[in-house]
Each structure stands twice: as structure tokens, then as C-alpha cells.
């Protein structure tokens, strides 16, 4: 059906994340050989864990052609609640359990508005983003909270691997299995491909879409906790604008904003690490601080651009042919 040249173009477009990752990595390694030191690589993984976990939840949402702009506020709210409880002398396990329940509840509220009241995900999650941040600022009274006790948790290691990396790995592996190997996961892909068709095929699309936003809320809460335990600090800026980093990580990893296309592993995992690599790499080559946003935004733009080109290309290939034999 497709021509050979078309296949090559598609191959490149479909594997853009890997190619980009190799290029960025190779680039920094050439500029500074120490970049490849094990210590630095582990450090990059630790730093990308938080946003990587949030981006994993975001991938679920994007696969259904939705969007969740509230994840940054969920990170803040769950971390703020956990911090408050810990500061008040409650055990860490209880604080974390409450934080995770908040994430799930938050996601369920988003999901309720989106699936039951049929409001656009963009509008719903934009509103709850502001509401969530406002609520968090109320709880913290816009003051920063220092929780040195937590850093011990965050910086500890199991089998010589830092705890945040364990969390990152566990979330990615679990999410990957759910997406690839369960009916729920495959239904997510089906809905992203053709929502109307999915309904016709007897899939309970309302339920699937509902759960997708719950998953996103859950991952955002875990991401907030990982962040909290690494830095031991709840500041009013926690999670601010992190939804963009999460979306960028997913899209960089090859997840399409048009739905139905993308993977948590290697895709989103690599995307999150890539964003962190760019930032760490810039530090390494001692680039000016003001260059960071420029470079990061260029990388994100490039990823979205590739996504659009790929979408247009796929649409062209899918175009109905009237004269079948003539196209060979």
C-alpha cells in the first residue's frame, strides 16, 4: 500500500525519539567526555524520576487524544498535604497514603467533568489547575516548608540504586505492562485511534477515559512525592508549569497529541530522561543559564513538529484511493 520511500520516511518519523536521544547524548559526550561518567548518568536518572513519573500518567491521557493540564497542581497539592502531615508529626507512610489518595481523587474529579458533563479536557484541567494551586497555597499559607527528615528517604539507596530511580522504574514497568498487555491498555489505544469505532465495538469508552484521568492524577501524586523526598522542601512553586515538561517528555518520546500512538517504554521514559539530559548537559558544558529555556523549547518544538509531520504523512497514506491498480 505504501511506497518504499514513504516507508523510509515513516520509519524515521516513528523512531524520531531514539534518533534524537542518540544525537543529544552523542553531542554532549563529544563536547565533554566526563558527561558519560556513571555518576553523572545516575544523577540524570534521579533528577528525571519525578517528571518521568508524571509524564507516564500523561501518556495515558494523550493516548486517548486528551490532555491533563492539572498535573503540576496535583504534584503541589499532594506534596503539600504530605508535608503538612509529616511536619505535624504523622508517620511518613500515612502522609504518603493520603497524598496518593488526593491524587486519585483529583484525577476522578477531572474525569467526572470530562466524561459525565462532557466538558473539554483542556478546559476542565486548566480550571482544576488553578483551583488545585489555590487550594495548595491556602494549605501551605504560601510559605515554604522544610522537611529535612524526608531527604533521608529520598537519598537512600537500595542495592546501590537510589530510591527515586526505583520508583521511576517501577511506575514505568507497571504502566508499560498495563498499556501493552491488558484489555484496559489496548482499549486506550483503540479509543485514541477511533473513539466512535471503539464505542461501536462495544468498548465502555466512558469508563476507560475516566480511568485514564485517574491514572494521570495518581502518577502526578507519586511524582510530587518523589520530588518532595528528593529535595525535602515544599515551596509555593512546586510543580509550577511542570505539566509542560510532562507533555513534552511524552511527546518527545513519540506519543502523538492526536491520540492512539506512543509508548511509555522506551518512549516517554526516554523523553523524560532526554529533557533532563539537555538541562544537565548544558550545565556540564557550562552554558549560560539563559540559554536553557531556549534549548529546551527548541527540543520540544522539534518533537511536536515531528509529530505533526508524521500525522500529516499518515493521513496522506490513509487517503482513499479510487484507482487502486493505478497506484500499484
Amino acid at each position: 500500500m505504501t511506497t518504499r520511500k514513504g516507508n523510509i520516511v515513516l520509519f524515521v518519523l516513528n523512531n524520531a525519539p531514539l534518533i534524537l536521544f542518540a544525537a543529544v547524548f552523542g553531542g554532549f559526550a563529544t563536547l565533554s567526555p566526563k558527561f558519560l561518567a556513571v555518576e553523572n548518568l545516575v544523577n540524570i536518572l534521579v533528577q528525571s524520576a519525578s517528571i518521568g513519573i508524571v509524564a507516564t500518567g500523561m501518556t495515558f491521557v494523550l493516548l486517548t487524544a486528551g490532555i491533563d493540564l492539572s498535573v503540576g497542581s496535583i504534584m503541589f497539592l499532594s506534596a503539600a498535604a504530605a508535608g503538612k502531615l509529616i511536619a505535624g508529626g504523622q508517620p511518613v507512610s500515612l502522609a504518603f497514603a493520603v497524598a496518593i489518595a488526593i491524587g486519585v481523587g483529583y484525577g476522578a474529579i477531572n474525569a467526572f467533568f470530562i466524561t459525565r458533563l462532557k466538558i473539554l479536557p483542556f478546559i476542565v484541567t486548566l480550571s482544576t489547575q488553578f483551583a488545585g494551586r489555590g487550594l495548595s497555597l491556602l494549605i501551605t499559607q504560601t510559605r515554604a516548608m522544610n522537611l529535612p527528615r524526608l531527604v533521608e528517604v529520598g537519598s537512600s539507596k537500595i542495592l546501590r540504586i537510589p530510591v527515586p530511580v526505583w520508583w521511576f522504574g517501577a511506575v514505568v514497568v507497571f504502566a508499560h505492562v498495563v498499556l501493552m498487555k491488558t484489555a484496559f491498555g489496548r482499549h486506550i489505544y483503540a479509543i485514541g485511534n477511533d473513539a466512535e469505532g471503539a464505542k461501536k465495538a462495544g468498548i465502555n469508552t466512558t469508563r476507560v477515559v475516566f480511568l485514564v484521568y485517574v491514572v494521570s492524577g495518581l502518577c502526578a501524586a507519586i511524582g510530587g512525592l518523589v520530588y518532595l523526598s528528593r529535595l525535602g522542601l515544599v515551596s509555593p512553586k512546586l510543580g509550577l508549569q511542570r505539566e509542560f515538561a510532562a507533555i513534552a517528555a511524552a511527546v518527545l518520546g513519540g506519543t502523538s497529541l492526536f491520540g492512539g500512538r506512543g509508548k511509555v517504554f522506551p518512549g516517554t521514559f526516554l523523553g523524560a530522561v532526554l529533557i533532563q539530559t539537555v538541562e544537565s548537559g548544558l550545565v556540564f558544558i557550562k552554558a549560560s543559564e539563559y540559554v536553557y529555556p531556549l534549548v529546551t523549547s527548541f527540543v520540544i518544538f522539534f518533537a511536536v513538529f515531528v509529530d505533526s509531520v508524521r500525522h500529516v504523512k499518515l493521513q496522506q497514506l490513509k487517503r482513499r484511493r479510487i484507482r487502486v491498480a493505478a497506484t500499484g
Binding site: 484489555a183 483503540a190 482513499r320 484511493r321 491498480a325 493505478a326
Partner: protein, 506 residues
Amino acid sequence: MSDTILECRNVTKSFFGVPVLRNVSLTLKAGRVLGIVGENGAGKSTLMNILGGVLRADSGSVRLGERDHAPQNPAEAFREGIAFIHQELNLFTNLSVAENMFIAAFPKMRIVGLPLIRRRAIREKTQALLASVDLHVSAEALVEDLSPGERQMVEIAKALGADARIIILDEPTTSLSSRETQRLFGIIHRLRGQGISMIYISHNLGDVLRLCDDILILRDGRVVGEGPKEEFTLERMISLMVGRSMDQLYPSRSARPSGEIVLEVKSLSQPGIVENITFQLHKGEILGISGLMGSGRTELARILFGLDAFEHGEILLNGEPLTRCSPHERIHRGMAFLTEDRRAEGLLINASVEDNIALVSLPSFARALPGLVNRPEMLRAAGRAAKAVRLQCSSLSRQTAKTLSGGNQQKVVLAKWLLEKPSVFVLDEPTRGIDVGAKFEVYRIMDELAAKGVGIVFISSEIEELMGMCDRILVMAYGEIRRCMARTQFDKEKIFRDALMENQLP
């Protein structure tokens, strides 16, 4: 082998008071292929949609085996054993073949609490099903990597996997190559031998005669012929399908076209879409384009209006070549386009009537320097245009386009383009889904426009209205122009035959 598996009795269905099916009865026997033929709009799709659970009948009964059959949705019909394979296939292109087969009910196993899909089981079952339709692709292959013919086989295999007793095939060959078509026919023969019944809908009457055991002919929502295929010939089928007398009225044409050419198309080709299209449109002429769905007529209209690109050939509008693929340029130079899908493409369905009418000509009501729209003047012009098309609505400003009847919606679209005073007007199915009275009004507007010197390209699948209104008719099939007829030579059967029968490449 003659037990009845499906029986419809007096099925009736109307849309917005327009009857589409009137007391339709049919009988399908086990292990037989029933061919259903009829013109576009005869009610074939509606009937199949009722069987397949997409629509519900207003009255009448359907019995499937020993039980009443009234599925509330397609999934239910599928479970009952009726698989409906649409012209537009219902596969998820980003999933594998095996996943598509079992999407509605994956077999599962629990591993550490997670309900995982039994991948090996679905792979093996799928591979066996694919083998039964002679399709040699991997069960793990993504559907988007398959050809249209292979996808069709996947749909059939899926139906077999669900133990379908009845498979409905709606125009299954339109996107297949002739080799794929032959293979499909082979499979149909084999399935029939296994006792599976099929309903085969096609415009290719030759195929229907070759393939089917029984034939049912629909016209205007009524059954006009039914019986084993031995009772039918091509000639008889065609005359039954078109046999309606001219019961619609057309306004007599008030002026003749002049010799001046307003639109000229020279050897226009777009690979895979249309091939070597050449024609001229004169001032004041109504040029009909006849063809079936999928003949390339809508695609040609989209290319003419600059919505899609073309690779070879030339289009001259008022003597000047059109170079860019841009509707904006076409509008600017005097072309107008009425799309076949007015609700999705022709109207801002939630905007007011006057905003819809003023949409295209908005720039010409903008005051030169600040660029602000002169609203009072715009509204006066919209009002005049509405009056010119005899639009019936309660309020131009408060009523939204959505609340109008189909006919009045179409008048809004016409009024919108009339404000621009076009010299060429491309109309794609302007009377689709509107009642007889409104149709007449549309014809009248077309006649008035032609009399004022507008050249009109009139695309329709209703041959009568083309014959009633046009000066010439081009017949399209397979992306090519098959014939050009002047008004004195109009012959319905010839047009029909050209559009229908040679549905393969020469």
C-alpha cells in the same frame, strides 16, 4: 439447506418525516448469498443499518432464527451473529490483527493481580482464522501495514471468529484491486459452502449476478423485485432499479448557455484519484456530473475548488490558469462551492443564519482603513440574499443554522455564495436529504443563476435531476470521464450503465 435464517416483515423507517423504507420484507436462507441492489438513496444502507444495530426500525419485525431481532447497538447485533462489514472498515489501524479480532472481549488471565490478555491464545486463534480466509499475514502485524484487501479479509476473519451466521458486505470491492476482488469471491463461495449466509450490496451488477443466489431490488424504499438470480438479467435489474417515471418537476430552463468558456479543465490528473479529466464549462451552462459514490466526482469537485492538489493538467478559470491549491484564490476569482456535507462542511451549525450568509463575503463589508465590519450594511445584504433564495426562518439574527430544515439550510449555503456573485458555481449533491418542495426551489435558484450567466457544475447521484436540469452530462466512473452527453442525447439507461458496469480498469 433452505431453512430461513433471517426474515424481515414490513420494515418501515422515516427520517424527519421522509420515508426511507416502506414495508420492506426480505428472507435470507442459510448458506445462501442475497444480493441487494438499488440506486443511491433507495434504502439499502438504512435497511442494513437496522439489521446491524446502527438504527432502529419505526415499525415491522425482524426475526433472526427463532427469535425477534432488535439490536440496540452494533455490538449487540454482532453478538447475535450478524457481522456488518462497512465500506469504511471498522478496524483500529494502530492495533495488531489479533487485537482487532478480540477487542470487544479479550480472553484474560490473572498474573499478580493484573488481568493480562492471553496473548498466545489470541495469536494462535487469529492465525487459524486468517488461514481460513487464505490471508497469510502475521497475527501480530499492525492493521495500518495491510492493504485494503487484506484489511477486508481481516474483517471477514473477525466475523468468523465471532461465529457470525450472517455477514453483511456493503460495497466490499470498491477499494480492492481485481485480484483482491477475485480472492474475496473465492472466500465468499467457500463460506457459503460452510452454511454461512451473506448479504451482498454492490453497484456492480455483474458481480451480483455472478456471486449471489438470490437478488432483491430496492427502489425508493420499496422492494420492486425479488427472487433467485435465474429470474434476473442485467437488463431487467437496471430497468427495475431506475423504472420510476419522472414524477419530479423541474423548472423549465429560462435561458440558453452562451459560447463563452468560464471554466476549462485540461487533462487533469491526480494519481490514484482522478485521471485525464478534460471538459469545458460555458457561461450560463449547467453541466451535470453523474457517477456513483466513490467514482471520483466529489474528489474532482474538491480539486476544482482548490481543497486538494493535482499533479498534472490545467484548470483555467475565466481564461486564467489556477496555479495554487487554494480555495481563497478560487473564491477571489469568482468560484463558489457547495459541499455534499452541508452540516459538517457547509455551515457553522451553531451560528446565526445571518452570520452564516455573511461568512464568505465578510471582507467586502469591512471598511477600508480600520478593517472593521460594517454590520448594518452586511445585515441588509444578508437579508436581501435570504429573500432571493426565499429562505424561511423566523429570525435571521436569532435563529441558528442548526434549527433549520435541510432545505432551508441548503438555501443558507446558496445565499452565502450568491453574495459573492460567482461566475462558476460547483454544486456537490445540492439536493441530498431535502424534501421535494425544497428541491424544486434549489433547481429554480440554479436556473436563475444560469440565466444570469453563471456556469454551474452540478454533481449528483440522482440521474433524473441531472437530466431535468443540465445542458450536458458527464458520466464519471473510476476517476475517469466515461461519456459526455448533450441534452438531446440524454438516456438514463446509458448513463446508468456507464456509471455502473465497467467498474474495472479497462
